[in-house]
Symmetry: C2
Subunit: 198 residues, 2 copies
DNA sequence: ATTTTCTTGTGATTGAAATCATATCGGGTG
DNA sequence: CACCCGATATGATTTCAATCACAAGAAAAT
């Protein structure tokens, strides 16, 4: 859990319900709110001219998102789109800064989150630069597993569609499918009803 | 300038001189210090099994580096190597945290730096995923120019070797050379004595 | 229940960057 | 000054992911 919901509500944060597929904010837009996901699923994506998506992050309940412009005052670095019907809680930027000033412990927790996200980018960037699909996918899945991100609530394994893996790595679906078959043959993962469990 | 040097010295920070090529700390190593570059140049790199380097960042005087593990308590995400003879100033991790607690303004400035670095990773990651060398190089150089990073002190243009660009983008030198010749022919940059000015 | 859409799946072809080879240039060093 | 090394330069070849084409299964929408 990022920031306690009661704390946010006390300061005047408001709930917002978004439908599946709804755009919460757009890349390049200006930012006036701190966002935290209460329930559902939100993906953080860059969409290019041909409509293809690069997934920067898949946000789970309790996590914040869109935090970059809260500090550097630039535009949003990526769009946020609801994967499923979701509830988010929003706090106005100025109140958010007030909160950080009053609660150094929350500010520190925030710095930790930013560090973790930066570390994830370091890892993935290094891996993408190597142009080795098998290593890239393996590193991504291992990282997610180690950080309990995008894990199936029932079986405790990382659960992503191959399309999502493709969109997180810049590889094509076909390449991901073929590469994962390799990993599957080596017994490093389970494919059940088409879905990947790592 | 990141943190005022006098503030650091008052808290007990110490100077350290490193020779060109010297490794300041190694990837995967544990972190006990806040690092800030006083003079010289430091590159922040991942080195793979075959010895090829991926440059995460080229640090200039006044900037901090190696800050990720200060917050998430993991190992260093990359190695720091001095490009030229450099002077760094180091503050013990515990004292650094004490400083942040005492000086919310410094903590906030730090959050801003982290945001900017995270944003840079977002931009580059999205670009690498597209597999378009010309766009990747153009985006990298435009970003650096916009943020006045790695800019020539005399002519105010971004100044990098093509090898460095290759190491920052995961492209091969030959590809960068060929691509930049294109950009040069289009008049978008200047090549002088082999060096690139954008 | 049926249509539509998204995802998986697989083979054939292509294209662009990686790789290999080799040479030259320029800065720094002993 | 001569030497060396890193960076630039360029052509030839290779390789492997992208692309194309097409099919079928699963899930969501109507």
């Amino acid at each position: 859990m990022m920031i306690d919901i009661d704390v946010l509500l006390t300061l005047g944060a408001t709930y917002k319900k978004v439908a599946a597929g709804e755009v919460i904010y757009n890349e390049e837009g200006l930012c006036s709110f701190y966002h935290q996901l209460v329930s559902g699923s939100v993906r953080w994506v860059n969409i290019d001219d041909n409509g293809s998506e690069f997934i920067q992050n898949i946000i789970e309940p309790g996590e914040c998102f869109g935090e970059i412009p809260l500090f550097d005052d630039g535009p949003y670095a990526a769009s946020a789109i609801a994967d499923t019907e979701s509830v988010i809680i929003r706090l106005h930027k100025s109140l958010f800064h007030q909160l950080l000033a009053e609660r150094p412990d929350i500010h520190m927790a925030f710095s930790k989150i930013m560090s973790e996200r930066l570390r994830f980018k370091f890892v993935l960037l290094k891996e993408l630069a190597h142009h080795d699909p098998e290593k890239t996918i393996n590193t991504l899945l291992t990282y997610l597993k180690g950080n309990k991100k995008n894990v199936c609530t029932i079986c405790n394994k990382v659960k992503l569609t191959r399309q999502q893996i493709a969109n997180m790595t810049g590889l094509r679906v076909e390449t991901v499918i073929r590469t994962m078959r390799h990993l599957h043959d080596k017994g490093e993962l389970v494919i059940d009803k088409g879905k990947v469990y790592f």
